[in-house]
């Protein structure tokens, strides 16, 4: 099979970036110039491996014969994903997002990233990360806060933004905690506030909460870039603009920036130290992956250990503090402790 430029399609070299978050799975395929040739954004539905396998099939079906020269994974499921696809590079979300954004908006100074269950702020100066923070303790300033309230108001989350933009007088709603937000919201409803004012109020509450908690003590300077799943919400974007009195740039691929960053990092990594990619091939979609979690009761730590099986053969384990299970699968040198204890 020949492509338009006369090259064999199998010669089209691509890089795959995967971002498995708490709620969604993102896959991006780039060419050798870091252009996105394929992207996918899907709910994980608690089945990260299956979702990823299906996504890989979609890549093959859409792009045909391609040569995958590098794979990178990120997100909270990055190790699991890395194992399934055969990642050449595994990175945390902060680095992945920053790499993608600085590619898109080279002079960016502040990145707001709000996802399903976590949110981050990344401070960039002259193209490199100099500071960052992630939300702690609760998910108040994240997508699930909005999801929750949208459900309560019986308004599809997709329409949330349009509603918010209609508001002339946003209601003041406590955004620190979903529990207080709820009582505040109900109270405002009883008082007769218009739905759009309440929704706009919620958007402002989220942004206020985000800037005060995640952005606390950070030097927040323009140009601002807003990305992550929540960037789809026009109401939140508007609230940011209102509060920071500045334009907020939302990248075209705002939902898949982490995956895009990993594709770029994979290409960089392969260019820096040329080697054969560890990519498992698209056949991996047909393989049987199973995960099992057990409570290890060998010691009083009672770790919850996750074991991953490929075609019934254990290939990975994590969650064990002592490394005993990991060692069983992939032996490493451990340290011995001699001292007698009570």
């Amino acid at each position: 099979m020949e492509g338009e430029d006369g090259k064999e399609r199998g010669d089209v070299i691509v890089y795959i970036g995967v971002d498995i978050g708490s709620l969604t799975t993102k896959v991006v395929v780039t060419d050798e110039e870091d252009n996105i040739v394929f992207s996918l954004y899907e709910r994980t539905n608690g089945k990260p491996i299956e979702t990823l396998q299906k996504a890989l099939l979609k890549v093959r079906d859409t792009l045909g014969d391609i040569k995958v020269d590098g794979v990178g994974t990120t997100g909270s499921g990055r190790y699991l994903a890395g194992l399934v696809v055969g990642a050449d590079i595994i990175k945390n979300e902060i680095t992945a997002h920053a790499v993608a954004t600085t590619k898109d908006v080279p002079d960016v100074q502040t990145i707001f990233e709000i996802g399903g269950q976590d949110s981050k702020i990344i401070i960039v100066r002259q193209g490199i990360v100099v500071d960052f923070a992630m939300n702690t303790i609760c998910a108040a300033g994240t997508g699930s806060f909005l999801d929750h309230q949208a459900e309560r108001l019986n308004i599809p989350i997709e329409e949330f933004g349009d509603y918010a933009l209609k508001s002339k007088n946003p209601a003041r709603i406590a955004g620190r905690c979903t529990v207080f937000a709820e009582s505040d919201m109900i109270h405002k409803q009883q008082m007769g506030y218009a739905t759009e004012d309440i929704i706009a109020g919620l958007c402002e509450a989220l942004v206020r909460n985000y800037l005060n908690n995640v952005g606390r003590g950070k030097e927040i300077l323009p140009p601002y870039v807003f990305q992550g799943g929540v960037a789809a919400n026009k109401g939140i974007r508007h609230a940011f603009e209102k509060m920071l009195k500045s334009v907020i740039y939302v990248p075209k691929n705002y939902g898949v920036m982490g995956a895009y960053g990993m594709a770029i990092l994979a290409r960089n990594s392969m260019a820096e130290s040329p080697r054969e990619s560890k990519f498992s091939g698209f056949d991996v979609a047909e393989k049987q992956f199973k995960t099992r979690s057990i409570v290890c009761n060998i010691c009083p730590n009672l770790c919850e250990v996750v074991l991953v099986y490929e075609n019934n053969k254990p290939v990975a384990a994590w969650g064990d503090r002592c490394g005993r299970w990991q060692e069983k699968i992939r032996p490493r040198v451990g340290k011995q402790k001699k001292t007698e204890v009570a």
């Binding site: 909270s76 990175k91 945390n92 979300e93 902060i94 680095t95 002259q126 193209g127 490199i128 990360v129 100099v130 500071d131 960052f132 992630m134 702690t136 003590g217 030097e219 010691c299 009083p300 730590n301 009672l302 770790c303 969650g319 503090r321 402790k337 001699k338 001292t339 007698e340 204890v341 009570a342």
Partner: protein, 333 residues
């Protein structure tokens, strides 16, 4: 012979070797509680007051574990009032009330009172010796016997401090001095991260999710507040004009200032105990001091700290430092 149990919390990491030598010289057996595990943590949370910091709950968990094991006749719970001579800085109130807090926590469990304690004003001249004498007298030993044991313990302390100041972690020093093992010498070449925080939090591998191992596997080395000479830190505090009230906080703050000036240190990570009152202050002060000088990150730890969140933050922090270096090499900056 009677056995003295030493809980693996608060003072353990810095003082266990000298305490072990002291008690053994007086003819007692010494048994530490095991490294923090889930059972100890759960026990501490159950019996501790909910408002207390995680470190106090852990300490109570360790005491309860020792008493319940039935293997010890005493549990050594000193009441330290001050530390760091000649500053005589006051220690956190939880140290001043420690034996009482521990007794109150064990009260409901109907365990025998086995608390062995004495007041220690270590910040004052001869405070350390006076403390040891009190402990020895409680155990029915003569002043002469106690003084001899004290001298032995201080020999151990000297060896301990020498290794600590050359960058060994307390856990490695125990392996060297008490178990006679070989531990590779710490290296300060390459990338160095300053780890701030109180020793009882910083060196508890369970609660920090093995932060030192993680840094090492990323190719980083580390230095803690305890690895600087106290005299050096004390002189920094004197230059501050007005030091803080609490002793340990002063030490951490001074170490932070030292690390900001120390050319080898490329970034600072502060480990803080959720619910610690003084950390709320020094965390902010360090943040302001570090701004624009060196990367700084606060990690607040509690009983629910998930491994994933911690790992992501450490990885991102390490990446940030590496990225900067890479760009500098490329001549971008």
């Amino acid at each position: 012979m009677a056995t003295i149990g030493i809980p693996r919390g608060f003072f353990f990491d810095l003082y266990y070797p000298e305490w072990k030598v002291f008690f053994e010289a007086l003819g007692f057996d010494v048994l530490p509680s095991p490294e923090t595990n889930k059972v100890i943590l759960d026990e501490g949370i159950k019996i501790g007051v909910s408002e207390a910091c995680i470190s106090l709950k852990l300490y109570e968990g360790h005491v309860a574990y020792l008493v319940k094991s039935g293997k010890v006749d005493y549990v050594f719970v000193p009441r330290l009032l001050s530390e760091y001579p000649p500053s005589a800085f006051t220690l956190c109130p939880k140290f001043r009330g420690l034996p009482d807090i521990v007794r109150a926590a064990l009260l409901d469990m109907k365990l025998p009172d086995v608390v062995l304690t004495a007041n220690g004003d270590w910040g004052k001249k001869n405070g350390r010796l006076e403390f040891y004498i009190k402990v020895g007298l409680v155990l029915g030993k003569s002043k002469w016997q106690v003084k001899k044991a004290f001298l032995e313990s201080q020999k151990m302390r000297k060896k301990f401090m020498k290794l600590l100041l050359s960058g060994y972690l307390p856990t490695d020093i125990r392996r060297i001095l008490l178990d006679g093992e070989d531990v590779p010498k710490p290296q300060f070449d390459g990338h160095l991260i300053g780890i701030l925080g109180y020793p009882y939090l910083v060196y508890d591998e369970y609660i920090t999710n093995h932060i030192f191992d993680r840094l090492r596997s990323e190719g980083f080395s580390y230095i803690t507040a305890d690895m600087y000479e106290w005299d050096e830190l004390y002189s920094i505090l004197k230059d501050l004009g007005k030091p803080l009230f609490w002793g340990q906080s002063n030490k951490v703050l001074a170490a932070a200032m030292k690390m900001l000036k120390d050319k080898r240190v490329e970034g600072l990570v502060s480990l803080e105990s959720y619910g610690c009152g003084t950390d709320a202050w020094i965390g902010k002060i360090i943040e302001q001091e570090a701004k624009g000088i060196k990367p700084y990150m606060e990690l607040i730890l509690d009983e629910q700290t998930a491994e994933a969140g911690m790992v992501t933050r450490i990885e991102a922090f390490v990446d940030m430092i590496m990225w900067k270096e890479k760009m500098a090499k490329k001549g971008v900056m």
